[in-house]
């Protein structure tokens, strides 16, 4: 015990000396924190607490919430189903154009969502070069449908999953996979029984991040899928509409629901992903 105590005492003293930031930094940091806290406080101060239940139980609200949950869940499932193989290929395979592929995957993270919506429309819209084929062959169109919402949300959300899982796949010790191979495990079994469990925390974190992103999706959705109540009007769209129409109480009530869900994701992830 004494040994540990003396071993840590010296560096700690030095740390105290160098880690005390100058006053100006503390002040600026406090301003920044206030900047993050103020909107939340505003929301809570103006919330129509007495009328909250009425606002939230309105049929239109319930419909928007349901649509949001269904679409974001579907987008997450699609992100995982396509994202795991994609992340694996990006992390482990050497092929020409891999850098381009990685850039393409990351693009929706930096692209303004509304631009994404326009681009989706030009590809999958009824006159789009793929949408036209879909219409001709199968007779269905994506824009202004619930499926269109899911496609838009997947487009903006999947990169979060792929980037998280790809990083995990790169950092996983591939010698565990070799050990599995020497025990008679084929590639699929190794991936399922060794690789995936080893990166499980990142799978969960990636899925949660992409789900949160899908839940909040606004720009691409409204551009690509429109704003049809019960069909494409998700929570963020409903909030915007309420706010625009001057029904601030309704907008706040809906916002509080999303704040609550976001907080739940943060708390759920704090051990896995947000650990400094």
């Amino acid at each position: 015990m004494t040994v540990t105590a003396t071993a840590t005492a010296a560096p700690r003293r030095r740390e105290v000396h160098t880690s005390r930031p100058p006053m100006i930094a503390i002040v600026v940091a406090a301003v920044a924190i206030a900047f993050f806290a103020a909107p939340l406080v505003g929301l809570l101060l103006r919330a129509p607490w007495g009328n909250l239940w009425n606002e939230l139980s309105a049929p239109a609200t319930v419909e928007a919430l349901k649509l949001s949950l269904v679409c974001s869940a579907a987008a997450t499932v699609l992100s995982v189903a396509f994202g795991v193989p994609l992340a694996w290929v990006l992390a482990r395979q050497q092929f020409p154009g891999r850098r381009l592929a990685r850039a393409l995957v990351a693009l929706p993270m930096v692209l303004p969502p509304v631009v994404g919506g326009v681009a989706l429309f030009l590809a999958f819209g009824r006159r789009g070069f793929i949408g036209q084929e879909l219409d001709d062959w199968f007779g269905f169109t994506l824009p202004y449908t619930t499926l269109g919402v899911i496609v838009a949300e997947t487009f903006v959300a999947m990169p979060f999953f792929v980037i998280t899982v790809e990083a995990a796949l790169r950092s996983v010790d591939h010698r565990y996979e070799e050990a599995a191979t020497t025990l008679g495990s084929g590639r699929i079994t190794t991936f399922r029984r060794v690789t995936l469990p080893l990166i499980a925390p990142s799978l969960v974190a990636g899925a949660a991040l992409s789900w949160a992103r899908a839940l909040g999706e606004f720009g691409a959705t409204i551009t690509f899928a429109g704003n049809l109540p019960g069909k494409t009007q998700t929570m963020p769209l409903a909030i915007f509409l309420e706010f625009e129409n001057g029904n601030t109480d309704g907008a706040i009530a809906l916002s509080l629901v999303l704040v609550l869900i976001s907080m739940a994701v943060l708390v759920g992830l704090r051990d896995r992903w947000l650990r400094a």
Partner: protein, 351 residues
């Protein structure tokens, strides 16, 4: 029966026609300096690295022979591999780790678990079945890794520095256990090590690998008597004795005594004396050395400006002397001679 000629290039390393032959039931040690290609040779046998030329045959089956385009995927080879860092799956319990191999090779889950439990019992670690690898001590983890490798009933067992992850305190007992299991193992075992004591304790034959080439093959006595390289002479060709340690040193099977060691080892033990620590005299030395034996010179091997002199005595010993002192002493075959070793030059290890 393992018959391999390994020829492969990996970066700067070139394994140049490295030949490894071993009969079933025997253990081969591959020993050599760092970067000599020992681990790569094991990985070739396992199929984790493919040959460029040569072949790997096991019990008449071709595992890898690029010349005839023969290749068996690693997961279908009848091998067990104990990795240097053990690589127990951290997300599986000890039992599930050991059952992993049988499961992959087609056993049903209950059968695989039963087999795994049997191996844990045989290695004396059945009490750990439910533990996660992270909770194990070094010696326990090593036994689990061995159980996992043996649970698929391999015909070729590959061990990469199997004891290097252990601290000095637990190494002897695990080494003893390992030697016992290798003794009863029916297939071929190949152990990679850089520790001559480990090699001699575990293996029947030693393959010395230096810079991608085999420089010598033989048992411990052959390596000591005729070291073919400076590395062998320095690190492998040492005088090694087996016997029983008491507080003062080692008693050999013939009753002869070797005084030395730090007195902490008791029971079955090994003693190591470097040939350069052995002094030779024509008359009985009167100084202070604690170990003095009278004998005759059996053989002299000159090696550059030094020579190895093999002395038959109650404690047979190889001495390394300079060419000039060899001439001064007038040593040749049959010359009567006195050999002496200071007690401080005798290292005693638990066997």
């Amino acid at each position: 029966m393992l018959d391999a000629v390994i020829d492969v290039r990996l970066g700067r390393l070139h394994l140049d026609a490295v030949t490894i032959e071993a009969a079933a039931g025997t253990t081969i040690a591959i020993i050599g300096p760092n970067g000599a290609g020992k681990t790569t040779a094991l990985r070739v046998l396992a199929g984790l690295v493919a040959l460029e030329r040569g072949h790997v045959n096991l019990d008449g089956t071709v595992l890898d022979e690029p010349g005839v385009r023969a290749w068996l995927e690693p997961e279908t080879r009848p091998i067990g591999f104990v990795f240097q860092d053990l690589l127990l799956f951290p997300h599986l319990s000890v039992l599930e780790n050991v059952a992993f191999g049988p499961r992959c090779r087609g056993a049903r889950r209950p059968d695989a678990r039963r087999r795994a439990a049997g191996w844990l019992e045989r290695l004396g670690i059945d009490g750990l079945a439910g533990e996660r690898p992270g909770a194990l001590s070094g010696g326990q983890a090593q036994r689990v890794a061995l159980a996992r490798a043996l649970a698929t009933d391999p015909r070729l067992l590959l061990l990469d520095e199997p004891l290097s992850a252990l601290d000095a305190g637990t190494r002897p007992s695990v080494r003893r256990d390992l030697a016992r299991h290798l003794d009863i193992f029916a297939g071929v075992a190949v152990v990679v090590t850089h520790d001559p004591v480990e090699a001699m304790a575990l293996a029947d034959h030693i393959v010395v690998l230096e810079d991608g080439r085999v420089t010598q093959v033989g048992d411990a006595a052959e390596l000591r008597e005729r070291p073919r390289s400076a590395y062998v002479a320095e690190f492998v060709g040492v005088n090694l004795y087996r016997g029983t340690a008491d507080g003062d040193g080692l008693v050999l099977a013939n009753g002869a005594r070797l005084i030395g060691g730090d007195g902490t080892v008791h029971g079955d033990a090994l003693a190591v004396v470097h040939p350069r620590a052995v002094a030779l005299h024509r008359t009985r030395p009167d100084g202070t050395p604690r170990n003095v034996w009278a004998g005759t010179v059996r053989h002299v091997d000159p090696e550059g400006d030094r020579a190895r002199v093999h002395v038959d005595a109650a404690v047979p010993v190889t001495a390394e002397v300079t060419a000039s002192s060899l001439a001064q002493l007038g040593l040749g075959e049959g010359t009567p001679v006195w050999a002496s070793v200071k007690a401080t030059e005798v290292a005693v290890f638990e066997a």
